[in-house]
């Protein structure tokens, strides 16, 4: 029997989140609500120095004065910030020397995720700093990195061990007052990763972090700081999956990248937070601020594959401060069912001969809304700045939406800015053509979507590209009618 639209709809409804499970580990969770005492308590819990506590309090006071932004093309019930618990840590906080000491239940969780530490340890070339509900529980390959003088640890550890670096750079790219969510994150961030690559060092392996929300009602506030000193290179991978949950979960991360003269940072993300069920219930709110600073001849590349979250608000950006700096943004954003994504980038050209490239691929299915929002800003001193932007949208079915909001501000006459945009639909003719060659509809969609996304998938490191392709297929199963 031929595959009908009804079959597809049925499949769509029964399609559940692949990683929807919940690990029952005893946690120490703060009471709900947010005030100065809670901020102090978080800081104390983490045994932070006084300057850090003060920094958090300053952020909190700014946040209190701010309003939640409404300009994004997304609609959702605003979180009640007094109804969220701002700290949750796996109960005992041991320092593991070997994998045998890790809580077996935690290992089981990793197994379900397909990233068991056992495997990870054997996977040469990848060091993993796994963030399980706000606290780093295991770090591998640290010694290899240490030999090169590379620091790769949790941000909490960095605050203790490398206060001079943290103090100097934290908030230098995304200040506390930058925006509502960044201020909130600055006040209450639980943990995150810190990375420092010394002068002239090429990091010999891909650094990767897996994030995971794992405590009912706990907001996740990650803070990441990556510093690439002069002439250094690092490729950083960030991937995440979250368990299925009924209530909305707030995720407001901040990532700051600093590429000093001649340095290069590649930052790749595969994001698969729980998107809510087929009726649009539940799902993660993902309000993220990501920004990088490029000094002279430096380069920052953001590559992201966004398949999850109920609501996404995210604009990884580059400030091209030094002459000849290069910024790149490669993005695939997939929305299905009732998901809403408003994502894009900002390329701020300050230095001479700065160059930026934006390739954005939006794929919308179901009743979802997918928006690209980008700003290319050429400042008056930025002589001979160049930008190329390409925004492609692919639609499936008749109930979804794709939107493009490109903003261009050029204050220097020598600027060269190109913008290309296309919108296409997966056609029945394309599907039939594939069917006729023996390829069923699911596989045909995967093939077409992978083809559409290829320019971006090619930018991902090998091990991530495979995972990303799989995610695209999972996210879009049964979505063409």
């Amino acid at each position: 029997m031929a595959y009908t639209e009804d079959d597809l709809k049925k499949e769509l409804e029964t399609k559940e989140y692949e990683y929807g499970f919940y690990t029952d580990i005893e946690s120490e969770t703060f009471p709900v609500g947010l005030n100065e005492d809670i901020v102090r308590a978080i800081s104390k819990k983490k045994e932070e120095p006084e300057w850090m506590t003060e920094w958090r309090l300053e952020a909190f006071r700014i946040w209190e004065q701010m309003e939640e932004p409404e300009w994004a093309n997304v609609h959702y019930e605003k979180p009640n910030f007094q109804n969220i618990s701002y700290y949750s840590a796996p109960n005992k906080k041991p320092k593991y020397n070997s994998i045998d000491e890790v809580d077996p239940e935690l290992l089981e969780t990793f197994k379900k995720l397909g990233i068991s530490l056992d495997e990870q340890k054997k996977l040469a070339g990848v060091a993993v700093d796994i963030v399980m509900d706000s606290v780093s529980v295991a770090t591998t390959f640290k010694e290899t990195l240490a030999e090169k003088g590379i620091i790769f640890c949790s941000i909490s550890e960095a605050i203790q061990e490398h206060p001079e670096l943290v103090k100097k750079h934290l908030g230098s790219i995304v200040p506390q007052k930058d925006n509502f969510y960044a201020a909130l994150n600055s006040a209450v961030f639980s943990d995150g990763s810190f990375c420092y690559i010394p002068k002239g060092v090429r990091c010999p392996m891909e650094l990767s972090t897996y994030f995971r929300i794992n405590q009912a009602g706990t907001g996740q506030f990650e803070r990441t700081l990556v510093i690439a000193d002069e002439e250094s290179y690092v490729s950083y991978l960030e991937g995440c999956t979250a368990p299925s949950r009924d209530e909305n979960q707030l995720h407001a991360a901040v990532v700051e990248l600093i590429a000093l003269d001649n340095a290069e940072i590649k930052y790749s993300t595969v994001q698969n937070w729980y998107p809510g069920n087929a009726e649009g219930k539940g799902g993660v709110y993902n309000f993220v601020t990501k920004r990088g600073l490029c000094e002279t001849n430096a380069k920052i590349s953001w590559t992201q594959v966004e398949t999850g979250s109920a609501v996404t608000w995210k604009y990884p950006s580059c400030v091209l401060k030094g002459d000849n700096a290069v910024g790149e943004f490669y993005s695939i954003a997939v929305t299905n069912n009732y998901q809403q994504a408003d994502t894009g980038t900002k390329m701020i050209h300050l230095g001479k001969n700065t160059k930026s490239t934006i390739i954005s691929k939006g794929i919308s299915a179901g009743k979802s809304q997918n928006s690209y929002r980008g700003l290319v800003q050429i400042n008056s001193r930025a002589t001979n700045a160049r930008n190329f932007s390409q925004c492609d949208s692919l639609l499936m079915g008749n109930e979804c939406g794709a939107h493009t909001f490109p903003y261009i501000e050029a204050k220097n006459k020598t600027a060269q800015i190109e913008h290309e945009a296309t919108t296409s639909k997966i056609g029945e003719d394309q599907i039939f053509y594939c069917n006729q060659r023996g390829i069923d509809t699911e596989k045909a969609i995967a093939l077409i979507v992978n083809g559409f996304s290829k320019e971006v998938l090619n930018k991902l490191p090998m091990e991530f590209a495979v995972e990303a392709q799989k995610l695209l297929e999972i996210s879009l199963e049964g979505s063409v009618g």
């Binding site: 031929a2 029945e428 053509y433 594939c434 069917n435 006729q436 060659r437 596989k443 093939l447 290829k454």
Partner: protein, 250 residues
């Protein structure tokens, strides 16, 4: 191999095929000719299993099995191949990747292992030589930016790769220059064997100079109204279709 009995079919309520009969045996080449709007492409699409077409009467048997309820991919798995009149573009998917997926999906459906990469490469090399296709062409996105002739040649390349039991060539000659026509026809002839059959749908005689049919059928107003040997094609070329219309209406 293929038996079409009193086939009635419609699109969006409009009847296109009105009691069509056709018998194709293994080892045979059949040509189906006819004026525009006679239902030639509809016939091709119905055999291949396109969903918009509704069969309202009669049936299609492949090796004695009624295939009407089968999805297009299931028919493909049983060896039905359609060379499209207007092949679609799939950006970002290379010809090689597309063929690899098509062959392995078909093998999977037949309970076979995936074809080893070495064998796949060998086959690609062999068939691309047969159709005089530049290897660089195979790394391009499927049909994207291809000329009309390249698209058709690529269809026949795919046919060579899939080795179908029943191949239907829907206006494969349109858009081909004389050299390309010769190459494509040569490819088709090499693929012909005792165990497979080919249906050539065309407007013109010229393709049939190169691919010599065992039978020629005239499709007019949803029915096969005349069948004959290859000489019938020459007669049609010379006299057009009007005399057939007159014969029927008389």
């Amino acid at each position: 191999m293929l038996e079409i009995k009193d086939l009635h079919a419609s699109v969006e309520g409009k009847e296109i095929l009105k009691g069509l009969n056709l018998n194709v045996k293994a080892g045979e080449i059949h040509a189906v000719m006819g004026p525009n709007g006679a239902g030639k492409s509809t016939l091709a699409n119905i055999i291949a299993g396109k969903e918009e077409y509704e069969v309202t009467g009669g049936g299609i048997l492949l090796d004695g099995e009624d295939i009407e309820e089968l999805a297009a991919e299931e028919r493909a798995h049983k060896g039905v191949f359609l060379s499209f009149q207007y092949p679609v573009e799939i950006p970002g998917v290379t010809v090689t990747n597309f063929m690899k997926t098509a062959i392995n999906e078909t093998r999977k459906a037949q309970g076979l292992e995936e074809m080893p990469a070495k064998d796949m490469l060998k086959k690609i090399r062999e068939k691309s030589e047969l159709l005089e296709i530049d290897r660089k062409f195979l790394s391009r996105s499927l049909n994207e930016g291809f000329s009309g002739g390249e698209k058709k040649r690529n269809e026949i390349f795919q046919m060579a790769m899939m080795e179908p039991k029943l191949a239907i060539l829907d206006e494969t000659d349109s858009g081909l220059d004389i050299d390309a026509l010769r190459i494509v026809a040569n490819g088709v002839n090499k693929l012909k064997g005792e165990n497979n059959a080919i249906i050539v749908i065309t407007h013109y005689q010229r393709l049939l100079d190169h691919i010599v049919p065992d039978y020629v059928h005239v499709l007019y107003d949803g029915k096969i109204v005349k069948s004959g040997s290859k000489e019938l094609a020459l007669e049609l070329e010379e006299k057009g279709y009007d005399w057939i219309k007159e014969e029927i209406n008389a």
